[in-house]
């Protein structure tokens, strides 16, 4: 296992180098002249441009510029936002918890419904639950996140007034946020009002964001269970007189879970970036909403930091998925 981990970590190096080169070239390909102009925005004064050129060493050869760039990224120094004039690393540390919280809630929704639904669908193969789950999961991938978000918002917030329309907490809330994860914060500070408030704000965005993974998890679970129920070991387990529940739990589910866990991991990585649209619909103060604002105001400093950061997180989540898969299935390790 250690050998496998080390091998996967080594494979990570060229990907991270490649990513940094891509983003480095990307900044230089941006409209507006040179990278200093792009990073400073349209109203940059010549003095500010000169300062940035000096700071990033933009008059030096490209390879030296690249090394400076990698060095500053390695120190988590992404510079300043053009719009808010704040340190980008500080903003990421404030906003990333919101995105993780939303993504986790979406995944809990997706896996919590998708796995049982896929299992039942496979057990009642071609029955009405099965047909319904197949049709539903098709619809689930065809419906854009932002449209679903708008629909949910219209029905449950605007019309029925059951849930709040935007934001992470009530405007009048005075709750403390030591960690930035509002649900966790409310539990830590033992603030029941804040907990209810945070959960109520979380429900609609989590459902909107979780629908695509829900559709995919349902499908994969169903297919995996259908594959496994015809295996010899399942027949053997039944033949030796085990009850149907024991067979389902120990032999069917446990073996069917491998592909499902992989897909949950991969989808979690995608959710972190897919949250851009959901956060925009629900004005959820995370990375996505921040990047949406950066697109609107052409804040390339924020945009490049956001893209690089989320891509690195995505790569790391995929690494964790691979490692957990190797723990669950020893056959992977020797490949």
């Amino acid at each position: 296992m250690l050998k496998f981990t080390v091998r996967r970590l080594i494979q990570l190096v060229p990907i991270l180098i490649g990513l940094s080169i891509l983003v480095f070239i990307w900044i230089r390909a941006l409209p507006g002249g040179g990278p200093a102009e792009a990073l400073l925005g349209e109203r940059a004064t010549p003095e500010a441009v000169a300062r940035i050129r000096e700071l990033y060493g933009l008059d030096r050869p490209l390879w030296q510029q690249y090394l400076t760039y990698v060095e500053s990224v390695a120190r988590f120094d992404f510079g300043q936002s053009i719009v808010s004039r704040r340190n980008i690393t500080t903003e990421i540390s404030e906003r990333f918890p919101a995105t993780i919280e939303l993504s986790l809630a979406a995944m809990i929704f997706a896996a919590g419904i998708g796995i049982p639904l896929g299992f039942v669908a496979a057990k009642r193969y071609l029955g009405w639950i099965d047909q319904l789950s197949v049709a539903g999961s098709l619809l689930g991938v065809a419906i854009p996140v932002f449209f679903l978000g708008l629909l949910l918002k219209y029905v449950f917030a605007v019309k029925l007034h059951w849930l709040p329309t935007v934001g992470r907490s009530d405007a009048t809330s005075t709750a403390l946020h030591p960690t930035g994860f509002y649900v966790l914060d409310a539990i830590i500070t033992n603030d029941r009002v804040a907990l209810v408030d945070a959960v109520r704000h979380l429900i609609l965005p989590a459902i909107a964001l979780g629908t695509i993974p829900l559709a995919i998890i349902t499908r994969i679970t169903r297919a995996a269970v259908l594959d496994v129920v015809n295996e010899d070991y399942v027949r053997t387990a039944r033949a030796k007189g085990l009850g149907p529940r024991v067979v389902d739990r120990r032999h069917v589910l446990r073996n069917a879970m491998l592909p499902v866990i992989t897909i949950i991991g991969l989808q979690t990585g995608l959710l972190l970036s897919g949250a851009i649209l959901t956060e925009t619909v629900f004005a959820w103060g995370g990375m996505g909403q921040w990047m949406y604002q950066a697109i609107t105001f052409r804040d390339y400093a924020v945009l490049q930091a956001g893209i690089l950061f989320l891509a690195i997180v995505f790569v790391l989540v995929n690494l964790l998925v691979d490692l957990s898969y190797a723990v669950l299935d020893p056959r992977i390790r020797v490949r």
């Binding site: 990907i15 490649g18 932002f146 449209f147 297919a223 897919g274 891509a311």
Partner: protein
């Protein structure tokens, strides 16, 4: 029988078998109700897009300010079947013209991505060695960035225009097609008929283009169909984020949703109908894609 004759009869057999396989697939496809629904939806979508000027009751940018007041944007009526938006424009006409831009973006971006991706994949699959390693590591790098994020980056770098949306979505598709064709070719390369062709002395270029590529193309067709659905959703997403066409009046489904977001309470129809248009067109391509997958490879029938 001379070698040339053997080769000729083998090629003939091959092509007969190929015709048989595609005819089979077509039959299976047409017997699948989901796929038929998909084909009907796509036909509808394409017809609407092509004949937009004939079908649309109004000019998509024409504003009828006499029928709107702040906070009052009439919904479906006899004059405006799907109602009007916050600027008094006919929503049905905008959706009909929006189909044009969606179809155009979808076809061009997937075509562009597939053309580059398939070329790279075929070269990597045919030559192997360092060309393969280099290409595929490059593709891995692109896959390391989530699709929407990559598209945002590319679109932001090129600037706001319909063309940049096409390029952005096309770029996202490149590594997907390259990987798919290469993988498919590698598995074909080991097959018996390639060995047979090689033993008969058929030249490498001819084996690759005449045997391996045609036999590897089935999954590519499935992927292209599914990619069209994703392209339509992604294009709408980019337009929603403000990275669509540079013409602010252009009828784009994603932009229509974004613009009406703040009028949700007064004009829900202005958001719901363009959203449904996206869902219906995507559903068409997904249904056809799934149907094709099952038709080409019956093992997938589930």
């Amino acid at each position: 029988m001379s070698i040339a004759e053997a080769e000729a009869s083998e090629l003939q057999l091959e092509s007969e078998q190929l015709v048989g396989r595609w005819a089979d697939a077509r039959q299976r496809l047409l017997r699948n109700p989901g796929a038929v629904v998909g084909i009907v939806l796509i036909l509808l979508f394409v017809l609407v897009a092509v004949f937009a000027p004939l079908l649309a009751p109004y000019d998509p940018t024409e504003q009828d300010l006499s029928i709107i007041r702040p906070g009052v944007y009439p919904g479906p009526s006899a004059e405006h079947w799907l109602g009007v938006d916050q600027l008094g424009r006919d929503i049905l006409s905008r959706i009909i013209y929006g189909a044009r831009s969606s179809l155009l973006i979808g076809v061009v971006s997937v075509g562009f991505g597939a053309a580059i991706g398939l070329t790279l994949g075929a070269l990597a699959g045919a030559f192997g060695g360092w060309a393969d390693t280099l290409t595929m590591r490059g593709m891995d790098m692109m896959l390391a960035i989530p699709g929407l994020l990559l598209a945002i980056g590319v679109a932001a770098a090129i600037g706001r225009s319909q063309l940049s949306v096409m390029i952005a979505i096309g770029v996202v598709n490149v590594p997907i097609f390259a990987r798919l064709l290469r993988g498919s070719m590698l598995s074909q390369r080991e097959s018996d008929y390639v060995l047979a062709a090689r033993a008969l002395g058929v030249r490498r270029g001819r084996i690759v283009l005449g045997h391996i590529v045609p036999n590897s193309i089935a999954p590519v067709i499935v992927q292209a169909t599914l990619a069209l659905a994703t392209a339509i959703i992604d294009a709408a997403g980019l337009a929603y984020l403000g990275l669509g066409s540079d013409d602010p009046g252009a009828p784009e489904w994603g932009r229509m949703l974004a613009e009406t977001q703040s009028f949700l309470q007064n004009a829900p129809h202005a958001a719901i109908f363009p959203g449904l248009a996206i869902v219906i067109s995507c559903l068409g391509f997904y249904l056809l894609g799934e149907g094709l997958r099952e038709a080409i490879d019956p093992k997938f029938r589930r």
